[in-house]
């Protein structure tokens, strides 16, 4: 009795500590899961947010006149003749139609910069398909340039518009226009700008002073030179700003300052200078619409805060884009091109289809090679191979292979498949073969684990009723191991799907503007794959590729999720319990 009590006391004495340890452990686990979920949500969330702009695109619809002498030089409607037509000229003409006053070379270049000439290829194929279109005017829709698109999405340019406070009088003298307000209508802008300039000048001066103070501490000659240059730059900037501010005649606006436009009806004037009283301004006509001296009371002060020097779209292009949109010719819609086009140097035309098809074709090759070979090897090693030093050696090597950096497999593929066997480079065939070797160890290891997990009593049972070894394996062991094998194989394939490095080695970075043919010949044509496409886009300079990179990542993630969902489904479907 006393012994029982003492045991109870001993246990109870330690109980609180045990409970605490348990709760602590649970708390750690919970914290780890919460962290993981937060990271994941953050990652996926940021990708989704970044990708949103890529899923919509602004498209321009213009009435294009397909005049015979432009698109059918021989005039016989033959394909050969139609193919020699100048469809881009037809598009240019359509655009000029919208802005009749635009004549000079630079102005036209800016106007035609609103779209990519590659779009004319689609116009050509449309006409080749239906030669009756020659001589007609058709509504042709095409994506607007990425810079204009980003501008319209409000991604690259900050701007502000306010109604003019008092009537202004315009007088035209050649290229320049003088605007005189009844009140100091430009004062708000020039005061604000002056203030900002003063701040910037002060900041630059402070920066220069700080750098000068550090100078005598710097001994290294190179570093000294760098600092000297920095000081000089800051001083020059400050000097320029001070000079600008000190100008008694008024405020001169340059490309490093915000742009100020005045818009009255369809006329747009870019202000170049503002008098110091803020009442008069001089400017240049950006968009003429029969401009003569006049007095306007209904006008808009349009400030483009992002300086021209730091954006890729000019003032005039902004004006063109807005005007076209105000006329209802530019519409925003779902960016189908992202899914139906292959890669392009023009972001507005670039799509993931090529890489997607390339990925699928590559995965087909990888799957057809890695899964049967891997599963076969696993079955042999696990069920049939004698346990001797040779198999032990092979086993160790397979395990080591799983840890080899993937780029090494790329080198191997380059050396063996391309240089020795002479297979075509940059193709899904070779890419799939390289990824197959990379995936093999994963498939073999997971398949062996699945086979090992089958209780030996099942094998004995089969052998006991007189099944041969092969029958025992294929009738009883394999069905039980299959779900595990499938899971392992799909994880291996998913890994291969996201692999970039080895494919770079065998040249699957090829710029492929036509999506590969989704069929047998596609295997031996140059292609690229999703992760490589993401890599290419992420290193592109164009701002618009930023969102497209995120969108491509989302497509890849979706593909992965589909893969894993299939794995889970198959496992559920075939899993047997014993």
């Amino acid at each position: 009795m006393s012994k029982a009590t003492s045991i109870r006391d001993a246990v109870s004495a330690r109980l609180p500590r045990r409970h605490r340890a348990e709760r602590r452990f649970q708390a750690y686990g919970l914290a780890a899961i919460v962290m993981a979920v937060i990271f994941l949500a953050f990652l996926v969330g940021s990708i989704i947010i970044q990708s949103v702009p890529a899923f919509t695109a602004h498209r321009l619809t213009l009435p294009v006149m397909l005049t015979e002498d432009l698109v059918d030089p021989r005039g016989d409607r033959s394909e050969a003749s139609l193919r020699r037509g100048s469809y881009n000229s037809a598009m240019q003409a359509a655009l000029r139609e919208q802005f009749p006053g635009i004549e000079s070379r630079t102005e036209l270049r800016e106007l035609f910069g609103l779209y990519s000439a590659i779009n004319s290829a689609r116009l050509l194929s449309q006409v080749v398909e239906d030669p009756d279109l020659v001589g007609q005017t058709i509504e042709f829709e095409f994506p607007i340039s990425d810079d204009a698109d980003l501008y319209l999405k409000g991604q690259t340019v900050d701007e502000r518009r306010e109604a003019g406070r008092a009537p202004i009088t315009l007088t035209v003298d050649g290229e320049t226009v003088t605007l005189r307000g009844d009140e100091p209508v430009f004062a708000v802008f020039s005061d604000r700008l002056r203030q900002a300039m003063t701040q910037r000048a002060e900041a630059d001066e402070a920066e220069a002073a700080r750098l000068i103070a550090t100078l005598d501490r710097i001994i290294d000659r190179d570093e000294r030179e760098v600092t000297d240059a920095q000081i000089e730059r800051a001083q020059r900037r400050a000097e320029r700003l001070r000079l600008q501010l000190a100008d008694a005649s008024g405020l001169q606006l340059g490309p490093r300052d915000p742009s100020l436009l005045v818009r009255a009806g369809e006329t747009v004037i870019a202000i170049r200078s503002i008098s110091s009283d803020g009442q008069t301004a001089q400017g240049e006509i950006l968009l003429p619409a029969g401009l003569g001296p006049r007095r306007v009371s209904d006008w808009v002060l349009w400030e483009i805060e992002t300086p021209a020097a730091t954006r890729l779209i000019t003032d005039r292009q902004i004006v063109f884009t807005r005007t076209l949109r105000d006329r209802g010719l530019v519409r925003n819609g779902f960016n189908t091109l992202l899914f139906v086009n292959a890669d392009s140097r023009e972001p507005e035309l670039a799509g993931v289809r090529g890489a997607f098809v390339g990925s699928i074709l590559t995965m087909v090759v990888t799957m057809l090679l890695a899964v049967p070979i891997g599963v076969g090897a696993a079955i042999y090693l696990e069920e049939f191979a004698p346990k001797n030093p040779v198999t032990a050696f092979i086993e160790v090597n397979i395990n080591n292979l799983a840890a080899v950096p993937s780029i090494v497999f790329g080198l191997l593929g380059l050396a063996v498949y391309i240089n020795i066997f002479g297979l075509p480079r940059s193709t899904p065939l070779v890419g799939g073969m390289v990824l197959a070797i990379m995936t093999l160890p994963t498939v073999i290891i997971s398949s062996r684990a699945a086979l090992k997990a089958v209780p030996p009593s099942i094998r004995e049972a089969a052998l006991g009723v007189g099944a041969s070894k092969t029958q025992a394996v294929f009738h009883h062991v394999l069905p039980l191991a299959l779900p595990g094998m499938l899971t392992g194989s799909i994880i291996g394939l998913a890994q291969a799907l996201g692999e970039t490095a080895p494919l770079l080695m065998i040249g699957m970075v090829a710029f492929v503007a036509d999506p590969p043919f989704f069929g047998l010949s596609g295997f031996t044509e140059p292609a690229t794959v999703m992760p490589v496409q993401i890599f290419i886009w992420s290193t592109s300079a164009e701002r618009a590729f930023e969102a497209r990179t995120a969108a491509a990542i989302l497509v890849l993630l979706t593909l992965m999720i589909v893969f894993n969902a299939v794995a889970i489904y198959l496992r559920r479907r075939y899993e047997r319990r014993w």
Binding site: E460, G464, V465
Partner: protein
């Protein structure tokens, strides 16, 4: 010393085993001569020589780990499946060497059925469990015949009444005792000549045990049975011959009443009277 009359007289008993004389006229079905089994360095079975009668039940008894299962596995060459197992000596069935290279273990195991120590049904339906053997050996011409084999096997194993209406349920969903009877049905479905049973009643209640013992008794009329049991009472009830194993050696072998009423070796006596084990 041993004058076991039913034995093949050409096989002279040897070693340290005590053989009791046998008065009933038996035919030898299985004869082992100097069978030893080693698992790597460990000797699990030492020099076992015994002749096992046809159409009779031979019980193997002995303390845990003494090599009873190993002995059974030596008869249908299940030890081949263990990597480090080395078998020496000879096992003859109907005078034919089992360990001969020319003997295909598949054929051997079709002739020598086995019920394992732990019930191990396939994770398939009850029907498939029983039908698997006949199917791979081509014993049934058509589906009806196969159905017949499944039914008679399950009936013989005393399981039919319990599972007749759920043959498509997984075999693993049965209770432990039912699984044991299922694997017995599976073993007899191929109609083997010899049936090895490794503790077939270890998981059964007294009623099911009685049924299995009844079955063993029935099977005795056509088959040669070798069973391992830890129950002295069961050995006494069902077997005609008893072999006592100790530390891998066959200590004593003879007719069951002889062994139980008149054990000659001290170890046998101690074991059957429950003084060690």
């Amino acid at each position: 010393m041993a004058d076991i009359e039913f034995l093949d007289t050409s096989s002279e008993p040897r070693g340290d085993t005590l053989y009791h004389p046998v008065t009933v006229g038996y035919e030898t079905k299985v004869a082992t001569q100097g069978v030893s089994v080693r698992y790597g360095e460990k000797v699990a079975l030492k020099d076992v020589t015994m002749d096992i009668p046809s159409r009779a039940v031979t019980a193997c008894i002995g303390p845990s780990g003494c090599g009873k299962s190993t002995f059974l596995r030596a008869i249908n060459r299940m030890n081949d499946t263990i990597d480090n197992a080395q078998v020496s000596g000879s096992v003859l069935i109907d005078g034919e060497e089992v360990n001969d290279r020319s003997v295909d273990p598949v054929v051997l195991r079709a002739r020598v059925g086995m019920v394992f120590q732990k019930p191990n049904p396939f994770p398939k339906t009850i029907y498939e469990n029983v039908a698997y053997g006949p199917k791979i050996h081509g014993l049934a011409g058509d589906r009806d015949q196969l159905d017949g084999i499944v039914e008679t096997s399950l009936k013989k194993a005393g399981l039919w009444d319990e599972v007749a209406d759920r043959l498509t349920h997984p075999g693993t969903s049965l209770s432990g005792g039912q699984q044991q009877r299922l694997v017995i049905a599976r073993a007899i479905a191929v109609n083997p000549e010899v049936i090895l049973m490794d503790e077939p009643c270890s998981a059964l209640d007294p009623i099911a045990t009685a049924r299995i013992e009844e079955l063993i008794d029935e099977l005795r009329e056509n088959y040669t049975l070798i069973i391992v049991t830890h129950s002295m009472a069961q050995a006494a009830r069902v077997s005609q011959m008893t072999a006592f194993f100790h530390l891998g050696a066959l200590v004593e072998y003879g007719p069951t009443e002889e062994i139980f009423t008149n054990p000659r070796d001290q170890r046998t006596q101690d074991y059957i009277t429950g003084r060690f084990g």
